[in-house]
């Protein structure tokens, strides 16, 4: 079983490499953010795999945190792009 985890890990690593290439290459900002987002997803998977690979599945907490943090980062980046700055001029209409 361990070897199959290792293979998945290697594949993930390869995919992460492609994402990094996309992030460095761009060309638009959105490509970079997309790459970062997809990179984050792969990191979450990599961590989950690693937990099983090392035999310490309590790494899953980490994976959960990564998923969360990744989301926040993307939202923050979009917020900045959309408004060209970082905040709402007025609060949106309530629910």
């Amino acid at each position: 079983m361990t070897s199959s985890f290792a293979i998945v890990g290697a594949a993930l690593l390869f995919a992460m490499g492609l994402a990094v290439v996309r992030a460095v290459a761009g060309p638009t900002l959105f490509d970079r953010i997309l790459a970062a987002n997809s990179f984050g997803t792969k990191t979450v998977l990599l961590l989950a795999i690693l937990g099983f690979l090392v035999g310490r599945p309590d790494f899953l907490d980490l994976a959960l945190v990564y998923a969360l943090i990744n989301f926040v980062g993307v939202i923050a980046a979009l917020k900045l792009i959309k408004f060209g700055r970082f905040s709402d001029p007025k609060p949106p209409v309530g629910t």
Binding site: A10, V20, L29, A35, G40, L50, L80, S87
Partner: protein, 174 residues
């Protein structure tokens, strides 16, 4: 093996940070850099550190950097300093460290001084004396609790500092 891959990606990302001009892209790359760093920490068994690095480096730092970019704009006009002195400094420091590498205790060796002197006692003692399984928490909060007090004070200082820098009306400078 996964570790080596991550390290190479780290190099790639750091080079990207060095070369890319657009500040926004730099911030995104630094977020990725932190995630990679956190992954590397996990492989090196530092779970708690990876946790923190992910939350701080990829999360809070990125948000704060982006928030700052929202105010200051995102152009790097690219006029750098004359490169001679920085290169000299960096090469000097780098050579000094690389020079030391061959005599460093081999990576992962259980006989390295740090694995035989202070740390074993932490690992042995913690379950019986402090009664919790996570040795890192035990050392952090108990054995070296005073360091952590300092750490909280640093964060407190940062908070006070930021509030102090922005408190009150904006001042007009001459």
């Amino acid at each position: 093996m996964i570790g080596i891959g991550l390290l190479l990606f780290l190099l790639l990302t750091a080079t990207g940070i060095l070369l890319v001009r657009n500040l926004f892209a730099v911030v995104i790359l630094s977020g990725i850099y932190s995630l990679l760093m956190a992954g590397t920490f996990t492989i090196l068994d530092a779970v708690d550190v990876a946790f923190t690095e992910a939350a701080v480096g990829a999360g809070i730092s990125t948000v704060l950097l982006l928030a700052a970019l929202g105010v200051v704009g995102q152009e790097d006009r690219g006029r750098n300093r004359r490169a001679l002195i920085p290169i000299a400094v960096v090469v000097l420091a780098g050579v000094m460290l690389i020079y030391a590498v061959p005599e460093m205790p081999p990576f992962g060796s259980p006989e390295a001084p740090i694995h035989v002197h202070v740390a074993p006692q932490y690992i042995e003692e913690t379950p019986s004396v402090i009664g919790i399984p996570n040795v890192v928490t035990a050392v952090l909060a108990d054995y070296r609790g005073f360091d952590t007090l300092g750490e909280v004070t640093v964060i407190f200082t940062a908070g006070i500092g930021v509030l102090l820098l922005f408190a009150g009306r904006r001042r007009k400078y001459k």
